[in-house]
Symmetry: C2
Subunit: 340 residues, 2 copies
DNA sequence: ATGAAAGCGCTAACAA
DNA sequence: TTGTTAGCGCTTTCAT
């Protein structure tokens, strides 16, 4: 037997009060006498009444829904991030409506329309680059938006990232201090600000020491492409091989390590040092034991949610760009000192 | 400058038609003349009008929102599943509202209330066991619900799982055919039907050959606990060690392999064969090269969505339990024949 | 095919 | 503090 949904009207009748009294009892910060409150609560629980969020959203203009736009999330650190995001928002009375956007530009546009149709109170764009055109549309629609793990120059939009530039630089200094002399880089997808900033910091760090970048490959943040880039980088004469490789994220770093060990019989870090970026859980697994720059996911999430909710709740907050610094986590995949 | 939202009324005025005409133009399967349709579309696009999903949901009773309940999703194959689920639903005009439920019973209850408040058209419970009490509440509330990757005996609720029993059995037969004689099992969280079914199939498979289970540990689907269980299983005399271990999922199997190799110096599969379950992407990585039972995620998702939408769209569909069989993927972590 | 009118379930003035 | 009243933006009869 499927029960129809109970309305506030029905509760009101049973409690012998007006419908608005019921509404007030269920509206935080509204005024109702103890007597009324009690009568209403009793009737409501007898009937199994719960307020209808959608109706509430429509009249109040606040849906308590946050639209989350994500690109396809196959790799890396998203599951964790998504979980924390959702959990953090849930604690603060919001829920996440998920929208998947293929990287093709048109798709992101359509998706944005769908999002706005749902009257979301805010948008989090995770690992998706919004064109400045889209940023504008969000502003025009009056929907606060925060970019997570992507940033944009000249943007009037808030963004939270790890300090990718500083992280990349840190890696360069570390590898140089370890006595490496032929230092290479394997890049992620070049359209991503994370990739660009990590590489920029890294190259500037090498430059600090007057060292050129020894070799460069592109893995597009994908496992198989990283393997291919590795093979190519290590295809020539042994003298032409790097003695250290900084890989733009952990996921690709695993591919690099596997390829180097399984196909070339190299030992890490004796023959070559590897450093990654993200510190995903698998980086700590004994098979990889990867030295890597940690993304402080927890703090990034918290900042994202704080900024978004403050933009939602206090109007007229100015957009802000937050970069969260993370430590280089030393493990066994990179040697620390000159001697082999 | 934030533009206020355009209403159908405003479009109607500009197009010189009634508000209901506008509604019809945007309602699939409603009747409007070509002339009207054209005028309305023109006015709408000039104004940037889009129907308000929430208002539509309220009056029509269909929100086109699916509530997805997930437990914390740290491990294994959820990112992929979540993505496919969301993508599949999005293609069919629905969106996913995410609800995180800690495994504690009370929490799942609260979460269910929140879900129902949003007038979702359906619920997918992914890897969460709903008590029969909760199943009842969903039925009473008239909200179709499908369990994904969990099943329940005596349940009036639809469920989609892989054929865990058959999978476990397949592993037993495979290990026996490979000439293993001391076959052990490392269990996941015992509250999960996936764990129970995999183990039941496995043990029945051993029994088919008259072989007892040689040893058993519990890893609760967690990396560190699996490591601990491994150390304990391999702590005594060398004669007391298994020559094959079936691990209830891949995530734990990686922990087992790492522990065996790094701490005990064993070689896989020469000293011991390892078989996992799920076939997550990392199972194919060279460092693990794990023989494992594949979960056909894609098909499971498709079945889940099909069942859910058919329950939503055609009333009076009977609940059904679907088990999707997956192959044993042979890789290098388990030897195939008797000789070492 | 179209317009007028009646709500969907709720919140938020406004009076009392 | 409470009840009355007016909508939120839309779909859906019901006439025309």
């Amino acid at each position: 037997m499927t029960h129809a949904r109970i309305t506030s009207q029905e509760v009101a009748e049973r409690a012998g009060v007006s419908q608005s009294a019921v509404s007030r009892v269920f509206t935080p910060g509204a005024s109702a006498s103890a007597r009324t409150t009690e009568k209403v609560r009793k009737a409501a629980s007898e009937l199994g009444y719960r307020p209808n969020s959608l109706a509430r959203a429509m009249v109040s203009g606040k849906s308590r829904i946050i639209g989350l736009v994500v690109a396809y999330l196959q790799n890396q650190f998203y599951p964790e991030a998504l979980e924390k995001l959702s959990s953090e928002l849930q604690e603060r009375g919001y829920h996440v409506l998920v929208f998947l956007a293929a990287s093709t530009a048109g798709n992101v546009d359509d998706v944005l329309d769908e999002i706005l149709d749902y009257q979301v109170d805010g948008i989090i764009a995770a690992s998706v680059a919004l064109s400045s055109d889209l940023s504008n549309r969000c502003r025009i629609a009056g929907v606060p938006t925060v970019m997570f793990n992507r940033s944009q120059d000249y943007s009037a939009m808030s963004a939270v990232t790890s300090d990718n530039y500083a992280g990349g630089r840190k890696v360069a200094h570390f590898l140089i201090a370890g006595g490496h002399e032929r230092i290479a880089f394997i890049a992620g997808w070049e359209g991503a600000s994370t990739q660009r900033d990590r590489e920029a910091g890294f190259c500037d760090g090498l430059r600090d020491a007057g060292l050129p970048l020894f070799a460069r490959g592109v893995g597009n943040f994908e496992f198989d492409q990283a393997r291919r880039a590795t093979r190519q980088m290590f295809s020539g004469d042994r003298d032409s091989w790097p003695d250290a490789v900084f890989v733009a994220n952990d996921h690709m770093a695993f591919a690099v390590m596997d390829t180097l060990r399984a196909e070339l019989g190299l030992t890490i870090p004796d023959d070559v040092s590897i450093v990654g970026y993200d510190d995903v859980p698998a980086a700590a697994w004994p098979s990889y034991d990867l030295t890597t720059v940690r993304q402080r996911t927890e703090q990034m999430i918290k900042a994202t949610v704080d900024i978004l909710l403050s933009e939602i709740e206090n109007q007229g907050v100015v957009p802000c760009q937050v970069k969260i610094d993370g430590p280089l986590v030393l493990r066994g995949s990179a040697r620390l000192t000159k001697g082999r």
